[in-house]
Symmetry: C2
Subunit: 210 residues, 2 copies
DNA sequence: CTGGATATTAGGGTTTCTACTTATTTGGAT
DNA sequence: ATCCAAATAAGTAGAAACCCTAATATCCAG
């Protein structure tokens, strides 16, 4: 289920919106337009891949304000390309530092626009793939019981079963049972696979205090 | 050997340089100044922590040109804070996309400047720590013979010794010997440690966010 | 030529992990 | 109260890994 990406155009200038839509659709990309930032917020689907072409200056919620809001809610960070008619360097720098992928000043070349959109869509794609992997690892992790998590941490920390059993005050046999259960639930057949799964998916690591 | 960071000021405007130096030194930071980008290139030490305050427009090599050059040679990417007297949005966006940590337009508040410098120095510090760990791992890795590297890869891939021996067409006993040698040379006592060492140090990238 | 590093193999013993089965207890959820 | 998942634990057997010593062959450098 690889959804076709959508280029969201958020701009209050009707003529600009139509012009942008024409250019973007001319290369076969889907476009959805909003004349107010709030409209976008109300209707967008976090699971839909794509990117945002966002006007800086709009009545109501401004482009940068929308960016801040999207960053705050966190879920599904669509890449944002800002579009501005006036040269405001501090603003441009601020939104770039806040994670925007580009900041275009009018008038701009169609080629520049499309290039920027393509890059944003590529970024979104890799982000989503990463998130996907992560979600799957999290889902498996959620299946583990409290004890199993403790044992998992011991394994990843490189501790032997007997060490884990001593630390948790349970028998070696019990640790072995939990260990087998962990391997099965996490869907791996070797310790290195388990370690990789845990490390590359930002699952919590054992904090070895000393 | 934690060297004191140095704020490099690269600007052809003598008055500006003195003003910046005064502010930066007033909070106890060391400053070195250059009136030409080439001077900086000729004299800077990649091992010296710090950051660069870089004027955009200079006779000879411009600020962005220096940034490009530093990115090309790659080694020791000092965080760069650009300083500009004129509002050129496309330029600001370009250098930010190229990795600059900030872009200040004159006139700017001392507080803003110092805040930006502190952030750049923090970024540099974490980058260097990461590079340090990486270099140590690389050094250990370099000690391994060809065969040992092959066995290491097998281990990290989660293969059993007998599988590795079959793939390399050598006896199980030989694999065991190489395996022990690998663990010793890499300075680890368990497979999970080994996997972590390899995974977290195989590919390094400079950190750029806060 | 010789010493050192590397690669290869082996024996033998110890430790650890895995697989399979069985069984008791306990704390929630229905 | 009953049922179930989780935690606990034991046994047995075999596979795999670890540890130590030792031997042979090759190649390179001093």
């Amino acid at each position: 289920m690889t959804m076709e990406p959508i280029v969201y155009v958020v701009d209050d200038d009707q003529a600009m919106v139509e012009s942008l839509s024409w250019v973007i659709e001319s290369v076969g990309l889907k476009v959805k337009t909003y004349i107010r930032a709030q409209d976008f917020l109300d209707h967008y689907d976090p699971h839909q891949p794509g990117c945002i072409l966002l006007d800086v200056r709009m009545p109501g919620m401004s482009g940068p304000e929308l960016q801040t809001k999207l960053n705050e809610i966190g879920a599904s960070t669509l890449p944002i390309i800002f579009i501005s008619g006036h040269g405001d360097v501090p603003l441009a720098v601020r939104v770039m530092k806040a994670g925007a992928t580009d900041f275009l000043t009018k008038p701009f070349n169609d080629q520049v626009l499309l290039e920027s959109i393509n890059k944003a869509l590529r970024v979104d794609k890799t982000n989503r793939e990463k998130q996907q992997e992560n979600a799957q690892a999290e889902a498996k992790f959620a299946l583990l019981s409290h004890r199993e998590v403790q044992v998992l941490q011991g394994i990843v920390a490189g501790k032997q079963n007997k060490v884990i059993s001593a630390e948790l005050n349970i028998s070696l046999k019990t640790v072995e049972a939990h260990r087998a259960s962990v391997m099965k639930k996490m869907g791996v057949k070797s310790v290195p696979e388990l370690v990789k799964l845990v490390l590359t998916n930002s699952v919590q690591e054992p904090v070895s205090e000393e």
